[in-house]
Each structure stands twice: as C-alpha cells, then as structure tokens.
C-alpha cells in the first residue's frame, strides 16, 4: 500500500472534519464558560454584571467610528471565510485528465472519461466481476485510480486481484508509459445476490 493509493480510497473529509470539530469546540467552550461565569467562578461580582457591560457601551459611544470599522471588518472576514468554507465543502471531487506530455506545442493529455470507460470495460471482462466503476482522482500530474468492483457470489478474490493487476492495470500502465499507477480497489462481495432476492 502506498500513501497515494490509500488516499484514493475515498474523498478526504479531513478539512470538513477539522472545521466542524473546531466550531463544535468553540460552541462547547462558550457555553461552559458562560455557565461558569454565571455560577460566580470568575468572581461573584462579575456574575451580577449585565451581558453588555457598561464599560463596553461606554467605549463604543466614545469611539463610534472605530467600533463601526471593526464591526465591518469582522463582517467581511466572516462572510469571506464562510463562503470559502461552504464552497470548498460543496465542490465535487475533481476528475482529472491525464497529462502524457507537457512539452510546449506538443502537450498531450487523455480525457478522464476515455480512460475511465476503457478501464471499466476491461475490468468488467474479469471472471467474477459483475459490474465495475472507475474514476481518476487527484490532479493532472499525479492522478490515482479508484476502482469499485462488484463481485458475484463465490468469486475468488485472489483470482480477481491477479487479473486486475496482471491485465487491467498492466494495460493502463503501459498505455500511460508509467511503472505504477496508485490504485484503490473497493470490492463489494457477493453483490449480485442483492439484486435478486433469494426465495427458498
């Protein structure tokens, strides 16, 4: 297993998880701190003060322009960060074409769908494979392949592997002229049976 083939197993949710975890921690911390503040942990006198402290209102009315610019700045930052966050998380996983030659004037790249269809058609001829789905992930220069294979009942996984590596991936490798293509293979065992309900 290589790092790149492992990364190709599924789309990474690392950034989504980090952001969601951070916002959860912020909410949790704010809630707990306010409860503690109200209990008088940070001083009994402080617990009796209003939420909008007279000191703050005093500062705002003394520096009205500065307060407005700060509020506008915070608003812009929240808007931009929130939009980047939402767009990044909604953006579909890219399907890269494969760049075979980057020489100026002789740039050659193979379209994603051409490769995916060819490898899929190849994979579906393997004995024991009822259906296959293929896509490329990563970027143009360092693509990796994701293969989903639905196996029929009683298919021998080792035989399927041997054919995947020996025939399907070997052909893809020679077509691209590379030694290795990082590949994640996802296998659905006994999948054919789920389509036809078993009646005894």
């Amino acid at each position: 297993m290589s790092r790149r083939s492992r990364a190709a197993v599924a789309r990474s949710t690392a950034s989504d998880r980090t952001l969601v975890l951070l916002s959860g921690l912020v909410l949790l911390a704010v809630g707990v701190l306010v409860v503690l503040l109200g209990q008088g942990v940070f001083g009994t006198y402080r617990a009796q003060r209003p939420l909008i402290d007279p000191e703050i209102t005093g500062w705002i009315s003394a520096n009205a322009t500065a307060a407005r610019w700060i509020a506008i700045g915070v608003g812009v930052v929240l808007l931009v960060l929130g939009l980047i966050w939402a767009l990044r998380s909604l953006r579909p996983e890219p399907r890269p074409d494969v760049l075979l030659s980057d020489v100026p004037g002789a740039r050659l790249s193979v379209e994603h769908s051409a490769i995916a269809d060819a490898v899929r058609a190849d994979a579906e001829t393997i004995t024991g494979v009822s259906r296959a789905r293929v896509r490329l992930v990563g970027d143009e220069r360092r693509p990796a392949m994701r293969l989903v294979l639905w196996l029929v009942e009683d298919a021998d996984v080792r035989d399927v592997w041997a054919e995947v590596d020996g025939r399907v991936l070997a052909r893809a490798r020679s077509a691209f002229g590379v030694d290795a293509i990082p590949t994640a293979v996802r296998i659905e065992l006994d999948a054919a049976a789920s389509k036809a309900p078993r009646v005894l």
Partner: protein, 177 residues
C-alpha cells in the same frame, strides 16, 4: 455519520457567511441611513434585553447550556464521521484494496445461510469483529461448531488484512423439521 458531516460542514460555513452579511448590513445601515435601521435583525431590542440580563440569570444559563450541548453534539459528529472500511491485504505496493463492513457481513451471511441446518441468520461485521446470530431446529452446539468452521474457511479464502474476531450465537428455533 459521514453523510451528516458532509451536510453539516457547508451548512456551518453558510451560517458563518450569513452572520457576516447581517453584521455588515446592520452596521452600514445604522451608519448611512439611521432612519431605516434596524433593517433585518431587531438588534435594538436585543441590546436592551442584553443590557438588563446578568450573567447569573436563568435564561442566560439555559441558553448557555443549550449552546454547550449543541457544541458537544457537533464535536461528536466530527469525531465519529470516519470511514469504517475493511482492509484487504494489498496485492502489489501501489494498490490498496478495501471492502465495506456491509459487504463483509453479506458474504458471511451467505456462507452461514448456505449451511443446511441454519433456518435464520443475521450478521453484523466490522474490521475487527463479526457477530453472527443464527437460529436452528437442530442441536445449537453442533450447528455453532459447523458455522464456525464455515466462517473460518471463508476467512481463509478471503485475504483480509486483519482477521476479525468471530462471535457466533445459535438459538434453537421451534418448528417442524
């Protein structure tokens, strides 16, 4: 849980962006055209409420507890939303092979049900544990042994990276054989 995370993440992003927009809108309206302020958010009434409420008041505490609980749930979603793939051994270094827990359970389930004296079976599988519950009209202990042998044989055929622990319970079902 991954689905929930994929839903929650852009939503939280949109919430942050919306807060930014509302803040900009209200601040600029209050500055440029004070007559039409507040525009969307009734912030003057919020402000008077917040000036009166103290940190120790019951409402503030209730809201703080709700916020903390929501935060805890969001943290939980982020921590639980990981993949539960079952790894198979890699045929060559550049290839990673996985299957889903559901697919593993399906394979084990077919194997168990193909045993003639099993009348019903349910299987729950993960990468380190497989739980089989079966019903039979015969002697449960004998059937249990037979199922164990079958599942062991399946795991010998299936090149799993890590052999899961297998727990099998067989109950006698009433009925005519």
């Amino acid at each position: 849980m991954r689905f929930l995370l994929r839903l929650l993440s852009p939503l939280l992003g949109l919430v942050v962006a919306a807060v930014g927009v509302l803040l900009l809108l209200e601040v600029i309206t209050a500055w440029v055209a004070p007559a039409s302020s507040p525009l969307v958010v009734p912030w003057p009434s919020w402000r008077s409420a917040l000036t009166e409420a103290t940190w120790s008041s019951g409402t503030v505490r209730t809201i703080a507890i709700v916020v903390a609980v929501v935060g805890f749930l969001v943290v939980l979603v982020a921590l639980v939303a990981r993949r539960h793939d079952v790894r198979l051994t890699d045929p060559v270094p550049e290839v990673t092979v996985t299957t889903s827990p559901r697919s593993l359970a399906r394979a084990v389930g077919h194997e168990v049900r193909s045993q003639a004296d099993v009348v019903s079976a349910s299987v729950v599988a993960s990468s380190n544990k497989v739980v089989v519950k079966a019903g039979t009209l015969d002697e449960p202990d004998v059937v249990r042994q037979a199922i164990r042998e079958r599942v062991d044989a399946l795991f010998t055929r299936l090149p799993l990276a890590r052999r899961p622990r297998v727990s099998i319970s067989v109950a006698a079902t009433k009925g005519v054989k």
